[in-house]
């Protein structure tokens, strides 16, 4: 056994590994160029993956889809009821905004982009907009439905890396819509997130919307009340899916 390992010709391997470490000096350039070369193939695979996923889900999730449809029908009825109430508030809100001269929340400078690759080891994606498009580190990224999906991480010349809110590195302050309850939304990886540091006396229900500013994040899936811990926690079901990452908007800056 030992002879087997002693016979390994180690020098070429050591040179190869050192060369790989040397690439760190040009990390942005190397990664940017490889992404540029790979992007047509990645786009094709991304679309093929979406279609395959749709096709497979027809078989695998027919029962789940039926239940989901029923749940969404009930939610739609609730939304219609709420909408009628909110229309009354809208007129009031408009006049208040004019009076207070508050900038419209949806007046963002947006850059349209699309994703075609996901990090293999963590919840982050590659998008086709980079430094040449005016992208900077920390810009928020949303879907068409104004669901916050994350923020820009590393920026390359033509591409950027977006750290999703479900990434384990992601932490942001979030609120429960319509209530004064706030907490910290921490990414758990694998498209999961948890809302922590919620005061014990907060009234929290399953289905409550979790927001950050004017952007929606998800819904409370399960409230965790552990007697040992001084705060409440809640599992949050994020509202974006892999398929939503195809068309995204990067918020450049509020106007």
């Amino acid at each position: 056994m030992n002879k087997h390992y002693l016979e390994i010709k180690i020098l070429p391997l050591v040179i190869f590994v050192l060369a790989i470490f040397f690439l760190n000096l040009f990390q942005n350039g190397v990664k940017g160029d490889i992404y540029l070369v790979s992007s047509p193939l990645q786009r094709a695979f991304w679309r093929a993956g979406e279609k395959t996923s749709d096709f497979l889900s027809l078989f695998a999730k027919s029962q789940v889809l039926r239940e989901e449809n029923e749940r969404q029908r009930i939610q739609l009825l609730e939304i219609i009821k709420k909408n009628a109430f909110l229309k009354g508030l809208e007129a009031e809100n408009k006049s208040l905004r004019e009076a207070l001269r508050v900038g419209l929340a949806d007046n963002f400078d947006l850059i349209f982009g699309s994703s075609y690759g996901k990090d293999l080891t963590e919840d982050s994606i590659i998008i086709d907009k980079g430094a040449k498009d005016g992208i900077e580190k920390g810009f928020p990224v949303v879907t068409e439905q104004k669901v916050l999906i994350g923020k820009v991480g590393e920026v390359y010349k033509n591409y950027s890396n977006v750290i999703l809110v479900s990434n384990k590195k992601s932490v942001l302050v979030a609120y429960i819509a319509g209530k004064s309850t706030s907490g910290l939304l921490k990414g758990q990886g694998n498209f999961n997130a948890i809302l922590t540091l919620i005061p014990k006396d907060a009234v929290l229900n399953e289905g409550d919307s979790v927001v950050s500013g004017d952007l929606v994040l998800g819904q409370v899936n399960r409230v965790i009340n552990n007697d040992v811990k001084p705060f409440l926690e809640a599992e949050v079901s994020l509202l974006f899916k892999t398929r939503d990452l195809d068309r995204i908007f990067i918020i450049k800056k509020p106007q």
């Binding site: 056994m1 087997h4 390992y5 390994i8 010709k9 391997l13 190869f16 590994v17 790989i20 470490f21 690439l23 760190n24 990390q27 190397v30 990664k31 490889i34 790979s38 193939l41 990645q42 786009r43 695979f45 991304w46 093929a48 993956g49 979406e50 395959t52 996923s53 497979l56 075609y116 690759g117 996901k118 990090d119 293999l120 080891t121 963590e122 982050s124 590659i126 991480g153 590393e154 890396n161 750290i163 694998n190 892999t242 398929r243």
Partner: protein
């Protein structure tokens, strides 16, 4: 040997692209299969008597994993090299193949 390394590089490049763009849509019980690791184990098994090729395979697979992730170059390379040595040790010591 050089021919095999070139072939491994091409193979892991396409596999990484396929994994990061196609397979992330195919979720199974809340997880995505890491094809790179699965094929690396297969290569290590098939070349258990000639570990050099397996080690080069591990370094190349790690390189592409670093390339398509936010980690610095070398992180997955070292991780996979240790993994390859461990797997090779297990294959030689505990796995017997009858032919």
């Amino acid at each position: 040997m050089i021919k095999n390394i070139v072939l491994l590089t091409i193979f892991f490049y396409f596999l990484s692209i396929f994994q990061s763009s196609f397979f992330i849509h195919i979720e199974w019980i809340g997880a995505f299969p890491l094809l790179t690791l699965i094929f690396l184990v297969a290569i290590l098994f098939l070349n258990r008597k000639k570990i050099e090729l397996g080690l080069f395979g591990a370094a190349i697979a790690g390189l592409f994993l670093d390339l398509f992730s936010a980690k610095p170059f070398g992180f997955h390379v070292l991780l996979f090299l240790f993994f390859a040595l461990l797997v090779n040790f297990v294959f030689l010591k505990y796995v017997r193949v009858f032919s």
